[in-house]
């Protein structure tokens, strides 16, 4: 069932010193959705988040919330809360007072504040930390305080600006699952900004891939990974081999000097295309029965798999395999029809 729209951006333009950071961006976010803005630094993802939060007023375009235009509404009047990149906890207040900050502004009775704050601290796993100064907390704990401080106000939408960026890898993985759990438990919309594609794929219902102030693709993690709409998305989401090819006819594509059956159709005959093959989708076979043959240049052990750089007719391919070949070895490579993804040719 499709949830109703909660945030809607229309033709948003933002420029800093004449440089366009968002160039006519439009986007709909549904209620109770976990949406992630994904892109390289400078792509405009944080700016988009700050437009929703109200910290940036767009030069043109409208921001609607629940069908109401809130473009000119200051941040403190929006039903939206933000978890900042470096947490932005108040250094002069302890954990309890940090979380209670928003509630105190609403002049809620003291007992209610107390019970709400304690409940929220328990939810984020910081029971018993109320009296601590925030300087006594680890990065992960500060993160939890920042989340509790926002969620205790029961926002309709929680904005998170690369909240896990400062944490180490293991803690980051833990917090990813935790955030997902919180989102389900609170049953509200999370809008999440990251440059880490793995994080985006793990947590999101919907991923918005951005580059240079524009949206490249919107879709579920599976869609984005399996059906990238252009070379930028294919490149940014996971490793991929992108090669030039010719669409001979429906279901038949030629690249790397070989013709492959595929599942794509709807291109014109002999249209130049780009072909995406994920490194893990290449099957290594003896050279005699390989659709393609390649010379192994380098083999790197990555724990779960081996990463191999293979020279196929002068182009380097990336292959992930659980079996190691030797550098200098000639190998055969097979690619199944389902693993070949065809895109119209683009510049990137």
């Amino acid at each position: 069932m499709e949830e109703p729209l909660i945030v809607s951006l229309k033709d948003i333009v933002v420029d800093f010193d004449g440089e366009k950071v968002l160039d006519g961006l439009s986007l709909d976010i549904h209620d109770k959705e976990f949406v992630t803005f994904l892109g390289p630094s400078g792509c405009g993802k944080t700016t988009t988040l700050r437009v929703i939060g109200g910290f940036i007023t767009p030069r043109s375009g409208t921001v609607s919330f629940d069908g109401r235009d809130i473009t000119a509404l200051p941040p403190y009047k929006r039903q939206v809360n933000t978890v900042f990149q470096k947490y932005a906890l108040f250094p002069h207040l302890n954990v309890f007072e940090n979380v209670a900050f928003g509630l105190r502004l609403k002049r809620i009775p003291e007992e209610q504040i107390r019970s709400k704050v304690l409940e929220m601290l328990e939810i984020v796993g910081l029971k018993g930390f109320e009296r601590r100064s925030i300087h006594q907390l680890s990065g992960g704990q500060q993160q939890r305080v920042a989340i509790a401080r926002s969620l205790v106000n029961q926002p309709r939408v929680l904005l998170l600006d690369e909240p896990l960026g400062a944490l180490d890898l293991k803690l980051r993985k833990e917090m990813q699952l935790e955030l997902k759990r919180l989102q389900r438990e609170m049953n509200i919309t999370f809008v999440y900004v990251t440059h880490d594609q793995e994080e985006a794929l793990t947590m999101s219902d919907t991923v918005v891939v951005m580059n240079k102030g524009n949206i490249q693709q919107i879709g579920s993690p599976q869609d984005i990974y399996n059906e990238p709409c252009n070379a930028f998305v294919a490149n940014f989401i996971g490793d991929s081999n992108i090669v030039e090819g010719i669409m001979i006819k429906d279901f038949l594509v030629s690249f790397a000097g070989h013709e492959f059956t595929c599942v794509d159709r709807g291109f014109s005959r002999n249209e130049p295309v780009q072909v995406v093959v994920r490194p893990e989708d290449v099957v290594i076979v003896p050279p005699a029965i390989g659709m393609l043959n390649g010379l192994v240049r380098e083999v790197i052990f990555k724990g779960v798999h081996f990463e191999m750089h293979v020279d196929v007719e002068g182009k380097e391919w990336l292959i992930h395999s659980t079996q190691a070949s030797q550098p200098g070895e000639l190998i055969g490579m097979n690619i199944g029809p389902d693993e070949i993804h065809i895109m119209a040719r683009s510049e990137v």
């Binding site: 939060g53 403190y76 470096k86 002069h92």
Partner: protein, 273 residues
């Protein structure tokens, strides 16, 4: 490094200097305050200060007024400067400090010429048919002189404290529902407390002990503690014992002010610990 027994001797000349020219003179002040001109012990000097209560009261009042005005004027300046880009901040800081480098006698003299009966301000007001006002030789002129001379001493520590407040802290407060007034009361003021404390001391102490500003801008009618002390040491009412007693009281006032502002600071420290 260099933590050898021998290197301690490097401090010896200074320790002697410190003892003779810092500690001993203060002890002499106390001794003079507690003796009469024959060198006999007496509390008369201290008790006779009671006659000058109005002067002490005026000094405290005018210095407090100047401190409050400086705080109110400087707070926005410190905030605005701390939000500028760093290259602009640099230029603005230079602009704040530049007048401090002018000798304060010259700065005060400038106000003498402006505030005079036929000075520039009265002439300007005269163009609109207002005035002339009697501005110089009033207590208002003295406060103005203090504010003008010591405003940078308030701006600089406030600015320093506020540069440590990240933009995102202010945004977080907005995000959680603070309107501009609440941001000021709940975030900006508490977080700039160390700067406020330093600023208050740096304005109040020279203001309460000045004798030049009151003499140049206040005329004879607005004597301050500093003027009284100066009169006992170099002026007509030459009385080193009474002057020392007054100095002692002034020191106590300053110490009280500083312990007040440092508790201000310690609260802050507790929050940090």
């Amino acid at each position: 490094m260099l933590r050898t027994k021998n290197s301690r001797w490097a401090a010896a000349p200074y320790l002697v200097w410190m003892a003779v020219f810092i500690v001993v003179p203060l002890l002499i002040v106390i001794w003079y305050a507690l003796t009469n001109s024959d060198g006999a012990f007496t509390l008369e000097n201290l008790t006779s200060i009671g006659r000058y209560t109005s002067v002490f009261g005026r000094s405290l009042l005018l210095a407090a007024e100047a401190t409050v005005i400086c705080l109110v004027l400087a707070f926005p300046v410190g905030y605005f400067l701390s939000r500028l880009r760093s290259n602009k901040q640099h230029i603005m800081l230079m602009l704040v400090m530049l007048p401090m480098w002018m000798n304060f006698l010259l700065r005060t003299y400038a106000w003498m010429t402006l505030l005079e009966k036929n000075g520039l301000i009265n002439k300007f007001l005269g163009l609109f048919g207002i005035g002339p006002f009697n501005m110089i030789n009033t207590s208002g002129a003295v406060v103005l002189g203090m504010v003008y001379n010591y405003l940078p001493y308030m701006i600089l520590p406030l600015y320093t404290a506020m540069t440590k407040i990240d933009d995102s802290i202010i945004e977080a407060a907005q995000d959680l529902g603070s309107n501009p007034g609440q941001i000021l009361g709940r975030v900006l003021i508490p977080l700039s407390k160390p700067g406020i404390a330093t600023g208050i001391t740096m304005v109040f102490v020279p203001s309460v002990s000045t004798f030049i500003i009151s003499r140049m801008l206040g005329g004879g009618a607005n004597l301050l503690i500093g003027d009284l002390i100066e009169l006992q040491f170099l002026g007509n009412s030459y009385n080193l014992n009474l002057g020392s007693a007054m100095s002692l009281v002034l020191m106590v006032i300053v110490l009280l002010c500083m312990s007040f502002t440092s508790t201000f600071d310690e609260e802050e420290m507790e929050g940090v610990m």
